[in-house]
């Protein structure tokens, strides 16, 4: 089975900026994949190269086994892209926009599917409204609808929830999850790391045009993040000498201990009790993707 997306040694330079510096990536069919990285890391350039909006200087990109340059017609038919910018054509209504987009892909008699997308994205009531009169969130939904109009097996969402309210965000994720369960491959870029953490099975992190981390979300969390114990001692008390080497950080009197597992908590508390330390405040932090992200981005890879 062809991978949904195969990216081999792709480079792209804009003037003096090396946007992509040799990216290799393979995404299997049916994955929910996250593409993360700070602004300017090359996420959008990579997506644009995949969609044929940008031409890679070297390397190969393929969608479901179809090269995006040599076999662009097949590749584009299999790919749906939700662009980052909130763009729309002010001349048309929502339904017209979708019908036209459908026609561009050569899909005839698409009314039933268009109705279904409108329903799922809560746009039915706005179907005959001109694009200009929609709110930002509504326009974003139409962009999602436009990307789905030709039923692409691979769907790329480039920061689909930037500036979108909570309700829509949740509705959107429900819908995208359903698409994923139905067999669509989903590739997502986002700055909301908690979203990526809860949605994506696998994640690639990009930095300066390179993939600097690539693993399942669970493995990344295990490797780069762990449980943290934060506590504040009662005023005037100091930490027993035996525990000092275990302190990972201290900020405003709050001590942080990095834990391999939750079992270590008991040992620390035991030592504190033994030394007669009273605890004012205590908190156990779970591993999170934000920490992974910060560590990966700060490491010299």
């Amino acid at each position: 089975m062809n991978p949904a997306i195969r990216i081999e040694q792709v480079t792209k330079r804009f003037g003096s900026v090396q946007a992509l510096a040799g990216v290799d990536l393979e995404i299997a069919q049916g994955e929910f994949f996250g593409l993360l990285g700070p602004n300017g890391a090359g996420k959008t350039t990579l997506i644009s190269a995949l969609a044929g909006l940008v031409r890679a200087d070297s390397g190969k990109l393929a969608v479901m086994g179809h090269d995006v340059v040599a076999d662009y017609r097949a590749a584009r038919r299999l790919l749906g892209v939700v662009p980052q910018e909130l763009v729309f054509d002010p001349f048309f209504t929502v339904r017209e926009s979708l019908e036209i987009q459908s026609g561009y892909f050569g899909v005839r008699g698409n009314r039933a599917w268009i109705d279904e997308i409108l329903e799922n994205l809560d746009l039915t009531a706005k179907a005959d409204t001109n694009m200009r009169q929609l709110s930002g969130g509504m326009k974003r939904r139409v962009l999602v609808a436009q990307a789905l109009v030709h039923r692409p097996p691979v769907i790329v969402l480039d920061e689909p929830t930037a500036g979108v309210d909570v309700e829509l965000r949740q509705g959107l994720w429900q819908f995208v999850r359903r698409l994923n369960r139905a067999g669509h491959t989903i590739v997502l870029t986002t700055h909301y790391l908690e979203e990526a953490e809860s949605l994506c099975g696998r994640i690639a992190m990009l930095k300066q045009g390179r993939v600097v981390a690539l693993d399942t979300t669970a493995n990344l969390l295990r490797r780069f993040s762990g449980h943290t114990l934060r506590l504040r001692l009662a005023p005037g008390l100091s930490l027993p000498e035996a525990l000092k080497p275990h302190v990972a950080g201290e900020a405003e009197g709050e001590l942080a201990f990095a834990l391999e597992s939750c079992d270590e908590v008991e040992g620390i508390l035991h030592s504190l009790r033994g030394a007669g330390c009273r605890i004012d405040d205590i908190e156990i932090g779970k591993p999170d993707l934000e920490e992974v992200f910060v560590r990966v981005m700060n490491s010299r890879t």
């Binding site: 097949a74 790919l79 763009v87 001349f91 026609g103």
Partner: protein
């Protein structure tokens, strides 16, 4: 519907939805030209000895409107799509660059012809036109609007802002059309300016178009057709190359 037909449909729908501005307005402008110039010049100017000035002027105005609106259609559509970013909707689907070209040019031809017919319709009752060779009329209208449609594409692809497009329009297209013999026969010009006019491709479009109405022209119509045809081929090849390279559309 395949991608090409949809893009053509969308481009036609785009100007048709705002036809008050894209069709009615240029028709009114042409009508005003006709009223003013024929009022001032009808009694003073006779062209080719036999043709009244008003009759002479009408085909010129029709063709000028055809050409300017064909250019306006493709150029403004492209620049709007680029500036607003919705050009992405046309770049993501599997539409080939040839289909892209054909759709924009044909929509420009459609707008040019619709406006031309409008101008003809409102000016018809001023004077009886002889309609000597209708096929020439059709041939020059189609070729001329296709050429300006292609030029509009080039301008729309090249321009990054509306004012750059306005420069193209105001400093190239408008002077070339105004100085092409819409309002006069170039035989009325001094020899030097007659010769200069022969370097203006739009002159041949107007002259050949007018031949279709009166059976007389400044240069033989076949020569005009040859030159206009050659211009069309050159511009088509150039625009196709531009599109194939992805110039300013696909980075």
């Amino acid at each position: 519907m395949d991608g090409f037909l949809t893009l053509l449909y969308k481009e036609v729908l785009r100007f048709w939805k705002v036809s008050f501005q894209t069709v009615a307005a240029p028709v009114l402008t042409a009508l005003l030209y006709l009223l003013i110039f024929s009022h001032v010049l009808e009694k003073h100017v006779k062209v080719y000895d036999t043709i009244s000035y008003t009759a002479f002027l009408i085909p010129g105005l029709v063709m000028m409107s055809v050409l300017q609106n064909a250019f306006a259609n493709s150029s403004s559509s492209l620049i709007q799509s680029k500036v607003t970013g919705n050009i992405i909707f046309m770049l993501l689907p599997p539409i080939s660059y040839r289909q892209f070209f054909a759709a924009y040019v044909l929509a420009a031809v459609a707008r040019g012809v619709v406006v031309g017919l409008g101008v003809l319709l409102v000016t018809l009752w001023f004077v009886d036109l002889p309609w000597r060779a209708p096929l020439w009329i059709v041939a020059f209208a189609l070729l001329g609007s296709a050429i300006l449609g292609a030029l509009g594409m080039i301008a729309g692809i090249w321009a990054e802002k509306f004012d750059q497009l306005a420069v193209f329009q105001n400093f190239i297209i408008v002077p070339l059309t105004f100085l092409s013999g819409v309002f006069y026969s170039i035989h009325s010009l001094p020899i030097f300016w007659q010769q200069v006019s022969h370097f203006n491709p739009i002159f041949y479009m107007i002259d050949g178009f007018r031949y279709g109405f009166f059976g007389v022209s400044d240069v033989p119509p076949l020569l005009s057709l040859g030159i206009v045809g050659a211009c069309f081929i050159v511009l088509t090849l150039f625009t196709l190359r531009l599109l194939k390279s992805g110039y300013k559309l696909r980075a």
